[in-house]
Symmetry: C2
Subunit: 318 residues, 2 copies
């Protein structure tokens, strides 16, 4: 492809490599270091004059360092006379701080959106935003891609008896995501409701729907500390589920996540590589990873060529 | 003072405490933590509705974390209906990345300026910007205060024979700063010129001016890895200086700085507390610290009351 440069931030070199392989491009050269006083030090290693630039950086590891690195890379490309700069952010940072849900809470996701714009981003490509409304925080185009087609494919290919499985949402907020998947697989769905009687009181979980004797597949957008999904797995086993799986797009796995999963009743916890999973998979044999690089690669190819991206909402590119 | 709240970021609680003591205020309540996935978690603990808010955060330690925390605090106060928000940034982050000095170098200081503005800052109070031009990166008012009056006072009070001392700049860029101090003390000045014959070749230092038998006082805006000032100290001793001191506003002291200073010929290296110095002073007995909290406190008091701040350019408030 002519007039395109793809750069990789330091959060997820493996994903950038895979995307570039699919696009039959080399990852463009950039030196990403820190000065001695911990300020981020970016040098773009090749000319971007008149080029369309794609910078791949995910919210993983040191979130603030990686965000700052992305912003500085955008700035550096922009002032080096690149044509358009797209930030490819598979897992969007601060996506859960998207509303004023307490008095005087920040809306950090909006701040991040504004920061990306002032840095010079012309276009955002992201995946399974925690809330689709975050697209509205931007005044530039945002392509919010879905891992759903890849997840459906994986379920069909790797879960025995998926035809009689039940798709379960671990909370009311996920009902829409779960019904969409259940519809496309033509299977039943169920919902878990978390009651919090009083602060600090142990939560009570109520299951709406039946999983008796069936394979239960929990679906959520992200797996962070895994407290909720592990409790949900217990609940599902208690309710007679034969096997329990979880599918989550973003495998954050912070804090006690890995030890909880190792002690859990899950058959497998399947995530995508919007966040690097190599280390996590070494520490927990239950974690499996779906590669979504072809979705991002195809989105980059299509935007660069001015083709429609919506094909990707229902198909997995080959 | 009515209608004012002063918050402290987590980079420099001691300075915030000192500033608030001078203003006879309590530091306002805020909870500053990290979520399990390392996203910054800010909760403003008291109402700021209709108040003028000052948030004190310096470029120290984990620069990117502290910058992000400051931005989120500004956002939180702003959307909680505060009146005006001033960011008090004693040491400005990324101040040295203020120009495109290589091909495709970022201008990160400009990016930081834009980020502060989109976060909602109405006013910036800072100290000894590495380049005064950074003020022009903002479209909001910037008060760039000077530690110079406090440094002059300290020299007069604590350096014996300062009347016959020579003020020395460790590079050509600092000539203006040094002549200003020499003029006000009515003493001589000298200049060190660094030649870099070829990359990786040992630098040669040339001293312009005489320090023979005199007290030499190196002056610069920041002391980071201290390579240059330690070489300069050797040069000055070699040229016959009786004693060598250094005065720098921002004591960053990163990387090999402390061990270099411990092995150096300096009588003392004096910095201010725009950056916390407690730990540095424990590790190096040559480091001395000038408290500049009263300058920042007075600047806050004056801006809040709509009084002129320029008095502070030539006087140390008592
Ligand atoms: N990084 C994070 N880790 C854990 N909780 C978060 C994080 N960011 C935001 N939150 C909280 O998660 C809640 C939002 O989750 P949700 O209702 O699922 O959108 C809010 O109460 C936030 O304060
Ligand atoms: N945090 C930093 N630590 C060391 N050098 C830096 C830092 N930030 C920028 N620089 C470099 O310092 C030089 C600018 O210094 P100056 O000429 O004194 O303004 C440039 O070459 C920058 O690339």
């Amino acid at each position: 492809m002519p007039n395109i440069k793809v750069f990789s931030g330091s959060s997820h070199a493996d994903l950038s490599q895979r995307i570039c392989e699919r696009l039959q491009l080399e990852v463009s050269k950039a030196s990403l270091k820190k000065f001695s006083n911990k300020e981020t030090n970016v040098e773009i290693g090749e000319s971007v004059r008149g080029e369309d630039v794609y910078i791949i950086q995910s919210a993983a590891g040191e979130i603030n360092d990686n965000l700052m690195e992305l912003l500085i890379m955008i700035n550096a490309c922009k002032i080096a006379s690149s044509c358009r700069v797209a930030a490819v952010i598979p897992a969007f940072p601060y996506a859960r701080q998207d509303k004023k849900d307490k008095s005087r809470a920040p809306i950090s996701a909006k701040l991040v959106a504004n920061m990306l714009s002032v840095a010079g981003a012309d276009h955002i490509i992201t995946m399974d935003l925690h809330a689709s409304q975050i697209q509205g925080f931007f005044d530039i185009p945002v392509d919010n891609l879905y891992a759903e087609p890849a997840i459906l494919k994986y379920i069909k290919e790797s879960i025995p008896n998926w035809q009689t499985s039940v798709i379960v949402s671990p909370d009311a907020g996920g009902a829409k995501r779960v019904t969409s998947i259940a519809d496309r697989l033509n299977v039943d769905f169920a919902l878990i409701h978390k009651e919090r009687k009083r602060a600090n009181e142990v939560e009570k979980m109520t299951l709406v729907g039946s999983v008796e004797g069936k394979v239960a597949i929990l679906v959520d957008d992200m797996a962070d500390t895994c407290g909720t999904i592990c409790m949900a797995a217990d609940k599902l086993v208690e309710a007679g589920a034969e096997k329990v799986y979880a599918f989550c797009v973003h495998g954050i796995f912070s804090g006690p996540a890995i030890s909880r999963l190792n002690a859990s009743k899950f058959e497998a916890v399947v995530v995508t590589n919007t966040i690097p999973q190599e280390e996590n998979m070494k520490q927990c044999s239950k974690i499996q990873c779906i590669d979504i690089s072809m979705i991002l690669a195809e989105a980059i190819r299509r935007t660069h060529n001015g083709e429609s991206v919506s094909y990707l909402f229902s198909h997995v590119p080959i």
